[in-house]
Structures are given as C-alpha cells and as structure tokens.
C-alpha cells in the first residue's frame, strides 16, 4: 500500500472531524506563529544592531592606533616616531590584503565652529583624504567631496554633516524649505572655511521610524518654558549615527598646514597622524591582513612597537552573542507552545484511536498489517501537524503585521526563510513524535479483542 493512499486516508479522517482537527491544529498554528514572530523580532533587533556597526565602517575597518612602547622597549621611547605618512605610503605599496588606506588628522574636542552667533563643538573635525567617504561609509547628498587638487593646494574647504548644518544654520528656513548651506562660510578655530558639500542625514531604521511616527503623531506641546529635550533615544548604536552627523571633513593638507604648524617642533608642522584607518579585503582574512600590516609597520617603526590595531571584532562578537541569547531564550519559549500543540495532537490521537478500536479491528481482519495501522495513525498525526505548520506560517505573516502596528517606532520585524523553514520542520517533527505513541498503541491492538470492542 503506497504512502499516498495512507496520506489520503489520513486527510479523510481529518476532514471528517473538521472542527476537532482545527482545534488540534490550533496549538501547532500558534506555536509556529510565535516561533516565526519571535525570530522576526530578533532579526529586526539584529538588523538594528548591525546597522550601527556598518555605519561606522563595518567589521572590515581596522584602525591603527598609537600606544606606549611595551616595557622591554620603553628605554627607546625617544626614538618613537608615531604613525605618520611614511606608514601610509609603506602600507599603500606593500599591504596587498588591505584595499583602502585613509590617514586622518583631527582637531581636538575643544575646537569650536562658529557662524555668526551660532556656535558648536562637532564630534569629529578631520583632515583626511577623499577616500574617507568609502572608509567611513559616508554619502554626499549635496555638493561634492573635496578632491586631490583641493588637498594639494590645501584649500579651506569642508564637507559637513547635517547636524552641523542644523546647529549653525538651522534645518529649515522660514518657508519650511531645507537649508543647503553650500558656498557658505564657517569659522573653524579661527580659520574661514567654505562649505562645498553636505552628507546625507544618517539615522538608524529605528530613529527613522521614530521620526516618521512623531511626524504622524505629534506629541502634545510641552508646558513650561521652551527647551531642548535632549539626545536620548535612538536605540542601540544611535550614537554612531549622531557621530557621523556631527562630522566636518577637510583636506588632510589643509588640516596639517593650517592647524598643526603651531604644535610641531622647530617650525616643522606636527607629522603624526591621529588615526590611520585601513579596510581589509574580507573579514575572513582578518588575521593574515593584520599580520601583513604589522610586518610592514614594524619596518617603518624600526621595530618599535608603538602601534596597535583596533578592530570591531568584539562588537561583532557581542552582537552575535546577544542575538544568539535572544534567539535561544525566545526560541525555547516559543518551542514550549509548539510542544503544548504536540501534546494536544497526541491527546486527540489517543481519543481518536479509542473511538476507532473497532475500525482498527476490522482493518486488521481484512488484511491490514501492524505496520499499515502504525503508519496510518502516524501519518494522520503528521498531516495534522503539516497543515498546522502551513497555516501557522500564514498566521505568522498576519502576526508580523500586528507587531508592526503595535511597535511603529521600533525596528521592523523581519521574517527570514530560515525561520520559516525551521518552524515548519519543527512542527512536522512535533507531529511525528506526538503520533508515535498512539500509533504504537493502535498497531499492537489484538484484532479479536478490537473486533469485540463495543
């Protein structure tokens, strides 16, 4: 007897008790929906967390930073040269596993940017190369990035983030139009700079949704005197976007000549870079790429180990670990509801075979083998779970829509194919295990006793 006939018999059995079968499936349906829903929420959370990491350059970005000499070399501390353009050139020539190198000189946090009466202290005022755009995942929305010519001529030009514009110019003019301050001049630590470009506004998905939500549902006016209500919110990693929005970039040579002459010795401008960022080809080659870069830098630093690497590996591992924990704990809770569904199936299957003892006796008398009865009951149970699993997946899409409405200002839950197939597989397995015991009980019924059963 082939498997399709058995499945057909199972389907017939299920359809002859539609309501009862539906109630039985309900456990599986809700279990699958909660498993998928939970996984979608965690996926949304993970997307939110990764987003911030991507915003500051992703896992492939590595910073070469300065450090004190190790104790064994500390007597040579007057020989230390720091990270300089020599390192940049050496890496550029030799580091084959590194695909992008961006030097940076920064103004300290005490720097002040003014325009008219407005004043602000940006997080980042950097002199750098045009490829900083790629390195730090910046996108110019208005105007242009400075180029090599601007750099060669050390022009007083800069590119700003939207938050800088907001502070110095305001976001919108009286007519509600967005202000684009291209060509305007701002004063950075006493030097006048012309704005030639502005980045797009960076925000996390959550911030964006929050903003849209607030636009749609304006909060009632606060009572009392007018005030700024702070920077809170933005979700995990919100600061990464804030950082990018309060950035000012200028050409490296401009920074060097205009701001570093005073801090050098003997009228030679300060040579050391504040940051040297490199981007490796792929995260899998992290170890090799860092070893290569280290070998090169050891040469330019005359074997003095006054540098170190800083990667985002910890952050990445943190996110993975955190997500794994959420996924596991949520998964266990959702799995409990699936198991409850399985117990429901088992219960109904036991009731169903007790109801059908005579039928089983008849089937055995007319030639059904123990195996055929076993398979029939097992397949019935699996078919219930199978249909329940499919309905559960459909319901989970509805559940996600409800979640989206319930949390309009948080990361959007994301259903993944993996979650769907996992939940579905589990539900079918639950059906299989729930059917084993009843099927075994039915199969070992003695035909004579079963025929006599009233």
């Amino acid at each position: 007897m082939n498997i399709w006939t058995v499945i057909l018999i199972g389907l017939k059995e299920i359809s002859s008790h539609k309501f009862r079968s539906f109630l039985t499936m309900l456990g599986i349906i809700l279990g699958v929906a909660s498993l998928v829903g939970m996984s979608a929420l965690v996926q949304g959370m993970e997307n939110g967390m990764r987003e911030a990491m991507e915003a500051i350059g992703g896992i492939e970005k590595v910073s070469v930073i300065q450090q004190d000499l190790p104790p064994s070399q500390s007597h040579l501390s007057d020989q230390v040269v720091g990270i300089t353009m020599d390192d940049v050139e050496a890496l550029k020539q030799n580091a084959t596993l590194t695909k992008l190198i961006t030097p940076e000189m920064n103004l300290g946090r005490g720097s002040v940017v003014t325009r008219g009466n407005n004043m602000m202290r940006p997080f980042i005022i950097s002199g750098t190369w045009p490829n900083a755009l790629e390195m730090n995942s910046h996108v110019i929305e208005h105007g242009r990035m400075f180029n090599e010519i601007d750099d060669d001529l050390a022009r007083n030009v800069c590119v700003i983030g939207t938050e800088v514009r907001d502070e110095l110019f305001g976001e919108r003019d009286a007519s509600g139009k967005e202000i684009i301050p291209l060509g305007e001049q701002i004063n950075i630590n006493g030097e006048l700079f012309t704005i030639i470009g502005m980045f797009q506004r960076y925000e996390s998905e959550k911030q964006k949704k929050q903003r849209e939500y607030e636009a749609a549902n304006p909060t009632p006016e606060r009572s009392g005197p007018q005030r700024r209500t702070g920077w809170g919110g933005g979700g995990p990693g919100g600061w990464a976007f804030r950082l990018k929005n309060t950035t000012i970039y200028m050409p490296l040579n401009t920074m060097w000549l205009k701001f570093k002459t005073a801090s050098g010795t003997n009228s030679v401008p300060e040579r050391t870079l504040d940051t040297l960022n490199i981007r490796i080809s792929s995260a899998e080659e992290m170890d090799e790429a860092l070893q290569q870069a280290r070998n090169i830098l050891m040469q330019t630093h005359f074997s003095l180990e006054d540098f170190d690497f800083r990667t985002q590996e910890n952050w990445d591992a943190n996110i993975s670990a955190q997500i794994r924990n959420y996924r596991l704990s949520g998964g266990i809770i959702a799995a409990i509801s699936l198991i409850v569904g399985g117990i429901g199936i088992m219960n109904i299957m036991f009731a169903s075979i007790t109801e059908r003892i005579r039928e089983i006796g008849v089937r055995k008398a007319i030639g059904a083998t123990t195996y055929a009865i076993f398979i029939q009951i097992l397949v019935e149970s699996i078919v219930v779970a199978f249909i329940g699993g499919i309905l559960g997946i459909l319901v989970s899409f509805g559940l996600i829509e409800i979640l989206k409405i319930a949390i309009p200002n948080d990361n959007e839950p994301v259903i993944t194919f993996g979650a769907l197939s996992f939940a579905f597989t589990i539900s079918v397995l639950v059906g299989l295990f729930a059917g084993l015991l009843p099927a075994f009980k039915a199969a070992k019924l003695d035909p004579i006793e079963a025929l006599r059963y009233e």
């Binding site: 007897m1 082939n2 006939t5 017939k12 059995e13 002859s16 005579r358 039928e359 006796g361 008849v362 089937r363 055995k364 008398a365 007319i366 030639g367 059904a368 083998t369 123990t370 195996y371 055929a372 035909p447 004579i448 025929l451």
Partner: protein, 237 residues
C-alpha cells in the same frame, strides 16, 4: 488435500492460575467449495475455532494448514497477508467503516493488497453488481438498510477472491426475511464455487448448509453431512 486441515488443534487460555481449554484436540478438514456451518451455544468455543480458521489467532497445540500454508508458526505479518488474500470475513454487525462510502469500503482490502487504483475501481463495480447495489456506490453505510449493509460486507469479503469466506452470525442483526435473502445469497455464492463457513448458534440457519459441525465445550460433538446420509436430518440441540 483439503483446503483447511486441522490436526489435534487446541487453544488454551491462561486466566490467572486457571487453564481454560477453549478448543480441545480438534481435528477437522474443510474441502474447497464446501458450504459448512459451525454451530454451538455461546461459550462452546465456536468463535475461537473461527478465529483460528480465519487466521486471526494461532493454535496453542496442533497444526493448522490453510491452502497448503502452515498457520501455527506464521508471524503476525504473514497472518495479515493471508487474511488479506485468502480469507473473507462477514460479521454479525456488518463492521463497515462508517466514514467511507460503499465503494470505498469494498475497496479497502484491495488497497492493503496493493491493487492498482484503476483495477480497484473496476472490481468494485463488478462486486456491487453481484450483490445488486450498483446504485448505492456513493452511499454511506448508515444510509443503507441492514440487509444492504450486509450485502456490502459480503462484497467486501469477496473482493480479493479469497479461498474461504467466514460468516459469523451473518443474519443475527437482521429480520427473518432479510436474513433469508442473505442466506440465499450465500447459497448462490456456494453454488458458484466459493468455500463458505457459517458460524451460528441457530440450528435453523445452519440448516441451509449440507454439512454441520457442532462444537460443545471445545470439542466437536457432532458432525452431520447430508451428502453422506442423503436426507435432511433434524439436529438435536
């Protein structure tokens, strides 16, 4: 060689410390094409005998051969296959599957025998014709009268062309008139060469068969064979 051969067959049940001999040293042959009845009061062991003959059970002692196959050592799997292909059952309470319609009920033994769907359909139609229920194929058992249900059961019992058909009180749940039609159907089948064993407690019903075996206390107490005596015998019960 007879179709069914029982040699010194006993069936012993152990109930607590007590040993119950449901069948005690029975020797019996049933020839192919025979129409035979097994009679006896309830508790006599006739049901146990039918269960053994029908391969629903195996004897404790003795040998039982059906169509040349030794039954006493067969595995449950083999017994199921033998029941499926060589034996048909007709029960007192019809025992049709209530959720299947008439045609599907008749089809079930063929499904277990692995008959392809197209052939199953043809054979169901043939069988329905034989029991005059062609126009009831899509009815549920509960929509039929008792006599019709029993005819469906007979059609089901015959569908795999069994070597032998057992009818356990086939008229027990029917009124006298309907019972007679069922009995005449059996007689007709017998005339067509089917081997039929009627199991009953009622001597009047047993009267339709040429040969009668009476069981009492697990033993054959009387064998009556019209073919040997040449006249109708009155049975003392």
């Amino acid at each position: 060689m007879a179709l069914v051969e029982l040699k010194n067959v006993s069936k012993i049940y152990q109930v607590g410390d007590e040993e119950i001999r449901a069948l005690d040293n029975i020797t019996l042959d049933i020839e192919s094409g025979e129409f035979i009845s097994i009679i006896g009061p309830s508790g006599s062991g006739k049901s146990t005998l039918m269960h053994l003959l029908g391969c629903l059970d195996t004897p404790t002692h003795g040998t039982l051969t059906l169509d040349g196959i030794q039954i006493q050592n067969a595995s449950p799997m083999q017994l199921a296959a033998i029941r499926n292909r060589k034996i048909g059952f007709v029960f007192q309470s019809f025992n049709l599957l209530p959720k299947l319609n008439v045609a599907q009920n008749i089809e079930v033994p063929m499904i277990y025998a692995g008959v392809p769907a197209r052939e199953r359909h043809e054979r169901v139609m043939e069988a329905l014709k034989r029991v005059n229920l062609e126009n009831r194929a899509r009815h549920r058992p509960m929509q039929l009268s008792g006599g019709q249900q029993q005819r469906v059961a007979i059609a089901r019992a015959l569908i795999n062309n069994p070597r032998i058909v057992f009818a356990d009180e086939p008229t027990g749940n029917l009124d006298t008139h309907t019972g007679e039609t069922i009995l005449s159907l059996f007689r007709e089948l017998s005339q067509h060469g089917h081997t039929i064993v009627l199991v009953t407690h009622n001597p009047e019903i047993a009267a339709v068969t040429p040969r009668k075996i009476e069981i009492r206390d697990g033993k054959i107490s009387l064998t009556l064979d019209e073919r040997l005596s040449g006249k109708n015998l009155h049975i003392q019960s």
